[in-house]
């Protein structure tokens, strides 16, 4: 079930769209934030609140890559390994994350702290390697800098 604050937020979202289906995408985002990932309960909650069939909600959500279809860590690391980042050592950073935090691409660290998703270019080639942690942007990464940054996310 949604918290009453989330319910209010969804109701506000709903007013911006002509019908319930149109409000699905932002509502699924709220559900993802509230439930951590799109569990069966999260889908149920969205379907109940918007009065849209469950199967339709799931169909819409699975179309997009940015929705979380499995449990995720508390913080999401989106690390780029595309050409520029790769040349400047992004793959070493991937190994570093695995050794230091035990998190593999597409996986969650055993303590549930981090999830790692490998990105295809986040538009920061000039200051590569780069990553996003949740909504924060970080660039010019080295192993040391990466660790310093991540220590801030508990």
């Amino acid at each position: 079930m949604f918290s009453s604050a989330a319910k209010q937020e969804i109701e506000d979202i709903r007013t911006k769209y002509p019908n319930a289906r149109a409000a699905l995408l932002p509502t699924i985002y709220v559900a993802q934030r509230e439930f951590g990932w799109l569990s069966s309960e999260a889908y149920d909650a969205v379907a109940d609140l918007l009065n849209v069939p469950k199967a339709t909600v799931r169909g819409v959500a699975t179309f997009y890559a940015m929705y979380k279809q499995k449990p995720m860590g508390r913080h999401l690391i989106q690390l780029c390994t595309n050409v520029s980042c790769m040349i400047l050592g992004a793959e070493r950073l991937v190994d570093f994350l695995k050794i230091t935090y035990g998190v593999e691409p597409g996986g969650v660290s055993p303590d549930g702290r981090f999830s790692l998703v490998i990105m295809e270019c986040i538009g920061a080639c000039g200051t590569a390697p780069a990553m996003l942690v949740n909504d924060d942007f970080h660039d010019n990464l080295t192993e040391k800098k990466l660790q310093e940054i991540l220590e801030k996310y508990t």
Partner: protein, 860 residues
């Protein structure tokens, strides 16, 4: 007039249609996969690409609308190339498992590849593998075979309105799945199965048991379940019904079916079927010959008749039997026995409600075309979820909502929930106040036209203010006003009334109020009908006071007229109705009963009482296809041929007479034939050789069916009024029963579930329906369950004054806290075991909405 040219042929069109439809209307074939005439256009498969002059690229014929002067080519080198290419692409992943796939032989893809496809593909990569899903009891999914035409999804969402399946994921990973990703957990209409062009979604019922080309015979007949009377096609191999499919273009259901209609046919060949007569010897039923059984019945009935008089015998006809069966039974009772004691379980709701409404609006007032609901601008629903009682009628209401019509309900109906109807939710037992409030407000808004004086007299006497309604029912003045505004604005209004209203205390008064709303909003009435031939049984005169064609027995001119045709003197004394029969059996004045195709112990409220009454009879004859609870009490059990094994007619709730056809051969006699044999043994000859002859006689006797023949029916002369017989306008003074009851705090009440997956007890012999809904449960709201610390699957004892049941608990998230819902489909576990009743004084329907119950957990 639009003129277009396709392949150098000029085609003239009245209306703008798609290029595909224009071509098909002229007999020009364009291959398609994702197109389906019932469904919304999609343009996804690209097979219907055509060349259109002055258009730079190839166009999809299914989505392109014709324009005057358009020049189209459908068979060019370029198009052949493209078709070959598309099919080659589809076959990258579609497995070539045709020898093993059930769809082979009726697979669109197979046919198209054979006709247009490449000889072989050039792709060496491995095919996508998705394991076959057998997690569902009824539907099997093979997503390897799916070609993503989305016909199933468009069907489920756009026509069925269940939205139970969706496209999951994207691009090459996409496939079709129900929400659970395993079991479907849906309405199980199977309409996705009908539209799947390949073998991706198929029925499990006939899996690997035959090939489409092995079907030698198929019969267009009528579904045996509810009063909608959908056309179904039975496909038969070696005298076994292998599959039931709908027919595109059929009048009532146009290619749609529900779970019962599509998957409920397995009772026909069930191993529980009765095949030899049984006679009670030394307290137990033992097998006997037909001769023994028939002579015994004739002798016993003869004895009882001569000792105690004709009225010591009664008969029960059946809304499951054909018109012919029912006609012969009532004739047998009236002529060979000499009594008007004949009735059906239609008396438990449909019969009384119909005659009540007809008394106000005239005969035939409830005979309205089902598809008219979809074209209404406003539909009001009360007293039952039409999507479970009469699913195909329910679809029409959903269609109305989808077309932008107003769907309004009193009460919450799960099947309409996602269509967001405008609803009023009065407190328990306050529906009457609410309806009075609606009538008062609607009268003030619309005024009276003076067309129906008796009804207007009643309407004038109703005066309940919105404030009163709010205080009593909890529906606010604002809500009520908005609701009435919508009713007043309706131009084509329909009202759908379910049995719960009829079977409630003060039911006839509620019906009057609903009739008033109908009258004020100038609408039509639909009465939900649970069984296939309720209407027909009544038309046939299976009522204690009416001869075939609703001619009252009490009028000597009618009894004389019918007597002359039947060569007998008929009794003018109205007989006992269903409930009076039970009372008379209890008192011992009724000595013998002939029950045909009915299971009264289960289907009449207060089963325990019925059972006791039946045990009190001297002689009980039960004629059925299964050894029902009632048959187990019988002195003689006569096995009959059932649906699918005999010819005849059903009359649906629209009063459409339709042919029921024999699909499989089985040894035995039809119901009418058994009755005729007994009549013969009692000295009254009934020399019918086939059902059609019985129908000839019906058409001769009944003014309703005047001169109709089987040929007329097949030609479409089958909808009321038949051959233009005028309506009889019988406006008599309107009687009502204004009994009322008020809710006691904290009490639990019984609610009867009318499930989608079962109908009567017949469906419990259909294996697939049993897989979907396997046993009786007591449904309870989550709040109440918590209060009683019950969890899903707990065993409880539910008790009422009438009896007790031991059931599993099922928790309903959205259920209310005032009731426990139990279905009446499982023998000895039916809700009617608990349902003590009082009768409505006017409709004579049993009121079972105020049965107090208690619930307690059984500790292991």
């Amino acid at each position: 007039m639009i003129t277009i040219t396709i392949n150098d042929r000029e085609i003239k069109l009245e209306k703008p249609v798609s290029v595909l439809e224009a071509a098909r209307s002229a007999g020009i074939k364009i291959p398609t996969l994702c197109y389906h005439e019932q469904l919304e256009r999609y343009g996804g498969c690209r097979l219907c690409l055509v060349e259109v002059e002055k258009m730079p690229r190839l166009q999809t014929a299914c989505t392109l609308m014709v324009a005057d002067g358009m020049v189209v080519r459908t068979e060019t080198e370029q198009i052949a190339d493209v078709r070959r290419g598309i099919l080659e692409f589809l076959l990258i992943n579609h497995p070539l498992d045709c020898p093993y796939c059930d769809k082979a032989g009726e697979c669109d893809l197979q046919d198209l590849v054979e006709k247009y496809g490449p000889g072989k593909g050039r792709f060496k990569e491995k095919k996508r593998k998705v394991p076959e899903s057998l997690q569902d009891p009824v539907i099997v999914r093979n997503m390897d075979r799916c070609i993503m035409c989305t016909r199933c999804v468009r069907m489920c969402e756009g026509l069925q309105g269940a939205s139970a399946i969706a496209v999951i994921n994207r691009g090459g990973h996409s496939h079709i799945e129900p929400f659970s990703s395993g079991r479907f957990d849906c309405e199980y209409c199977g309409n996705c199965v009908s539209v799947c062009p390949v073998g991706a979604i198929m029925s499990r019922l006939h899996r690997h048991s035959y090939r489409p080309w092995q079907v030698k015979e198929q019969y267009e007949t009528v579904c045996p379940y509810c009063g909608v009377g959908c056309t179904v096609v039975t496909q038969v191999r070696d005298d076994v019904i292998k599959r039931v499919i709908p027919k595109l273009g059929s009048t009532v259901n146009n290619g749609m079916l529900c779970s019962r209609g599509r998957f409920g046919y397995e009772f026909v060949g069930s191993k529980d079927r009765l095949s030899v007569p049984l006679i009670r010897k030394n307290g137990a039923l033992a097998e006997a010959t037909w001769e023994e059984a028939i002579t015994l019945v004739a002798k016993k009935l003869g004895n009882i008749k001569s000792t105690y008089g004709s009225d010591a015998v009664a008969g029960m006809a059946s809304p499951r039997c054909t018109n012919e069966d029912n006609y012969v039974l009532q004739k047998f009772l009236r002529v060979a026995v000499g009594t008007n004691n004949v009735d059906t379980t239609a008396r438990t709701g449909f019969a009384g409600a119909q005659s009540f409404i007809e008394n106000i609006f005239g005969q035939g007032a409830t005979a309205n075309i089902i598809s008219g609901l979809a074209n209404s601008d406003t539909v009001m629903v009360i007293g039952g979820d039409p999507t479970t009682v009469n699913p195909i009628l329910g679809l029409q209401i959903r269609a109305c909502a989808r077309r932008g019509g107003q769907v309004m309900t009193v009460g919450e109906f799960e099947g309409l929930r996602i269509f967001s109807p405008t609803k009023l939710l009065p407190r328990q037992f306050t529906e009457t106040f609410l309806l009075e409030g609606i009538v008062t407000a609607l009268r003030e808004k619309k005024g009276l036209s003076g067309a129906n004086a008796p009804l207007e007299g009643k309407i004038k006497s109703i005066n309940v203010t919105a404030a009163d309604v709010a205080a009593k029912s909890g529906v606010s003045e604002k809500q009520l006003a908005a609701y009435v505004d919508l009713l007043a604005a309706a131009t084509t209004f329909s009202i759908v009334i379910g049995k719960e209203t009829v079977q409630s205390i003060g039911g006839s008064y509620k019906l009057l109020l609903l009739a008033a709303i109908t009258y004020l909003a100038n609408g039509r009435v639909y009465l939900l009908s649970e069984k296939a031939n309720e209407q027909g049984a009544l038309d046939m005169g299976c009522a204690p006071d009416m001869l075939p064609g609703y001619r009252p027995v009490a009028y000597p001119e009618f009894t004389k007229k019918y007597g002359a045709v039947w060569h007998a003197e008929l009794s003018e004394k109205p007989g006992l109705n269903l409930f009076e029969m039970i009372e008379a059996a209890e008192k011992g004045t009724l000595r013998a009963m002939y029950v045909m195709g009915e299971n009264p112990v289960c289907n009449i409220p207060n089963s325990g009482r019925v059972e006791k009454a039946f045990k009190n009879l001297d002689f009980l004859i039960v004629q059925d296809i299964f050894l029902t609870e009632t048959a187990k009490l019988a002195d003689v059990v006569l096995p009959a041929l059932g649906w699918g094994e005999k010819d005849g007619t059903f009359t649906n709730m629209e009063r459409r007479i339709q042919r029921v056809k024999k699909s499989v051969q089985r040894e035995g006699m039809e119901d009418w034939k058994i009755v005729a044999e007994i009549a013969k043994n009692m000295g009254y000859r009934m020399d019918y050789t086939k059902a059609e002859e019985v129908f000839h006689e019906i058409a001769k006797v009944s003014p309703l069916y005047r001169d109709l023949s089987y040929e007329d029916i097949e030609k479409g002369e089958n909808i009321y009024p038949y051959k233009g017989e005028p309506l009889r306008d019988v406006k008599e003074d309107i009687q009502i029963d204004t009994s009322a009851v008020s809710a006691a705090a904290g009490k639990l009440y019984l609610k009867v579930e009318r499930p989608l997956f079962h109908s009567g007890t017949m469906s419990t012999h259909a294996a697939s329906l049993m897989n979907i809904y396997p046993h009786a449960v007591a449904r309870i709201g989550a709040g109440r369950a918590k209060m009683l610390s019950l969890t899903e699957g707990d065993v409880v004892t539910v008790r009422s004054k009438a009896g007790a049941l031991s059931l599993f608990i099922a928790i309903e998230k959205a259920g209310d806290d005032l009731s426990v819902t139990i279905s009446n489909n499982f023998e000895s576990k039916g809700a009617f075991r608990l349902a003590d009743y009082t009768l409505d004084q006017v409709t004579k329907a049993p009121c079972i909405d105020a049965v107090e119950i208690s619930i307690e957990k059984v500790t292991a």
